[in-house]
């Protein structure tokens, strides 16, 4: 480049113009409730489109040569627990990235300043790249892993299994909220606080499981997130220049602190603790380092000078880290026929590790694994789901099953709003619901579709059956003496039933937020 970056950047910025053929209202289809006029934005990365594509091409070249070498050299010796777990784990991400791309297109259109818009537009292209990288990784695994079943239906599965709703609801929430809230929810919480634990932290776990292509996918994605984190910070400090925005920002921070914890935070914890065989660090350790130390301590705390307070449930979130992955595991292992991977139950070595990393683990979760290990063989005609009393209710806000913080003492509750009964997983989600009820109107849920139906019928309808039309894709262990079939499920005599609602609470939830949302 002939000009130095800083000079060229100013020159390019000056090219921005206001079109004469369309009014401002027509151009900016929707308005933010934040005050964004006359603010001076930052763009720390000052990236130009030509350099951007050169850089992305180099990233692609490096990454796809890893995939190519891996296929050529048959590096298919990764840990089965991980490779099977990623049938579910990775299936969630293509949707998430694609939704993030849609969000950036919307923000580029509705948030005016050119410095921010430039960053959003490159991020939009990044997110399309990420969705493709993940779809390519699914395809790579389908071609190279010895049991491709599950990888072949991964994208469809992410659309209808009973776990991915958490991630879909999370992304749809940040797609449909105020455009500035989108920046804070996606770029600050999901990309700065949580995607690091996943894409960077879990990349070293992937390597420890022998899965180098996944590690490469994770890291090449996160190298774009570096710019996205800066987009988030730039948007945040730009809007905080206007004091009237402080209460609006606080409200969004309060919401997303909880909202990200119950979705992305939960996924991270589950994948790290229950899909790894060769242990690196525990999910709790990783989260405390990345989310609580680096993000809340090193990033969020810096907002205090703008008058921002810590989120109200920080202590509750941190306390939940003792149980988050374990409760999620009871659910996902307990509901194995509703997923499309072979579950690998915890061994004595795993249990010893858990007891060391989470003292008291056995007394809280040992019962589940003892019971699980008695229900693996189809000839016994017992299914763990039956032993657990069926599936739980789901939260109308975050779509988590009602088993948190612990299955034995969950914080699920029913409450009346707008003349109707609603179910949420926690007081945190109830607060979110009450502030913005129309945002969480539910469409047909799992029980509306399947209540009263026999298990093998449901699994068939969901599409989780192998090519022979009989053998299930999901299995309760890696290599059983024989695989479970639909006929085995019928022998278990299990009918899906909507559980009774959790207890009603009528205490008032938190007062309306300052600034008044919608």
């Amino acid at each position: 480049m002939a000009l130095p970056i800083t000079k060229a950047y100013d020159r390019v910025k000056a090219i921005d113009w206001n079109p004469s053929y369309i009014s401002t209202d027509e151009k900016y289809l929707e308005q933010s409730r934040f005050f964004v006029k006359d603010l001076k934005p930052l763009d720390p990365f000052k990236t130009f489109i030509r350099e951007y594509f050169k850089m992305e091409q180099e990233k692609e070249n490096r990454h796809y040569s890893v995939l190519e070498a891996s296929s050529r050299l048959h590096q298919g010796h990764a840990e089965a627990r991980w490779m099977e777990g990623m049938k579910f784990g990775l299936s969630n991400f293509a949707f998430v990235e694609y939704a993030a791309g849609r969000q950036m297109g919307r923000m580029a259109r509705s948030v005016a300043p050119v410095e921010l818009r430039q960053g959003y537009m490159m991020q939009m292209i990044d997110e399309m790249r990420h969705a493709q990288l993940e779809m390519n990784n699914l395809r790579h695994n389908m071609r190279t892993w010895h049991d491709p079943a599950g990888y072949d239906i991964a994208l469809k599965g992410a659309g209808n299994n009973v776990g991915s709703g958490m991630f879909r609801a999370m992304m749809e929430d940040c797609t449909t909220c105020d455009p500035i809230e989108t920046a804070i929810s996606l770029q600050v919480f999901l990309e700065t606080a949580y995607s690091n634990v996943f894409f960077v932290g879990l990349s070293s776990a992937a390597v420890a499981q022998g899965d180098h292509t996944m590690a490469s996918t994770f890291l090449t994605i996160q190298s774009d997130e570096a710019r996205h984190m800066a987009n988030g910070w730039a948007t945040l400090v730009t809007v905080l220049q206007d004091d009237r925005n402080v209460p609006l920002v606080q409200e969004v921070l309060d919401k997303w602190s909880w909202r990200a914890h119950v979705s992305f935070g939960l996924g991270n914890a589950l994948f790290q603790d229950y899909f790894t065989k060769n242990r690196t660090e525990s999910a709790k350790e990783a989260s405390l380092r990345w989310v609580y130390d680096e993000f809340y301590g090193g990033f969020y705390q810096k907002l205090e000078r703008y008058g921002i307070r810590p989120p109200p449930r920080l202590d509750e979130q941190m306390a939940e880290m003792d149980d988050l992955s374990h409760a999620a595991a009871v659910y996902i292992f307990g509901a194995w026929p509703f997923f499309y991977h072979r579950a690998d139950p915890m061994t004595t070595a795993d249990m010893e590790w858990f007891e060391k990393k989470y003292p008291g683990w056995y007394s809280r979760y040992g019962w589940f694994w003892e019971a699980y290990n008695k229900c693996k063989d189809p000839t016994d005609k017992t299914i763990i789901l039956g032993q657990l009393g069926g599936l739980p209710n789901f939260c109308e806000v975050c779509q988590r099953p009602l088993i948190f913080p612990t299955p034995a003492a969950h914080s699920g509750r029913s409450f009346m709003h707008g003349g109707k009964a609603h179910i949420v997983c926690s007081p945190g989600c109830q607060d979110i619901y009450v502030k913005d009820p129309q945002h969480y109107q539910t469409d047909k849920g799992f029980y509306d579709l399947y209540h009263g139906k026999e298990l093998s019928e449901v699994v068939d309808h969901m599409g989780y059956v192998r090519d022979d039309g009989e053998t299930l894709i999901g299995q309760p262990e890696l290599d059983g003496a024989r695989m479970w079939t639909r006929a085995d499920l019928r022998c278990c005599d299990f009918v899906v039933k909507r559980p009774p609602p959790p207890p009603f609470v009528d205490e008032p939830v938190v007062a309306a937020a300052p600034g008044g949302i919608r």
């Binding site: 970056i5 180099e58 990233k59 420890a208 570096a226 910070w233 809340y296 090193g298």
Partner: protein
């Protein structure tokens, strides 16, 4: 700091001056670490296998010409951003360097 804060929140709600960069492991990352270690006596480098974490107090300044010299080829901002997986602190891209500093006090 608010008085209403409980102990757990207080324990993480503390002033930290640490800034970090996480680099995708490989030849470029090793050269960057060599240059940064020479220039920053207190730099802490942690090897997580797939990535290297560099930690320093207050700032990390990556001078591109020095890294290029170590590698024996031209090394520009896009080359650096290709291996920067993540960071904590405030990034700023300048003409001849990329810096990560603690968030400016306001």
């Amino acid at each position: 700091m608010s008085d209403a804060m409980n102990d757990v929140t207080r324990s993480i709600w503390k002033e930290s001056h640490k800034v970090t960069a996480k680099l995708i492991n490989g030849a470029d990352a090793e050269a960057i670490v060599a240059v940064m270690t020479a220039a920053n006596p207190d730099l802490v480098v942690k090897d997580f296998g797939s990535y290297l974490a560099l930690e320093n107090e207050r700032e990390l300044v990556f001078r591109l010409a020095d890294i290029g010299e170590e590698l024996g080829r031209k090394f520009e901002v896009p080359d650096f951003l290709t291996v920067l997986a993540s960071y904590s602190g405030q990034v700023d891209v300048q003409d001849d360097a990329v810096s990560i500093t603690e968030f400016a006090s306001g």
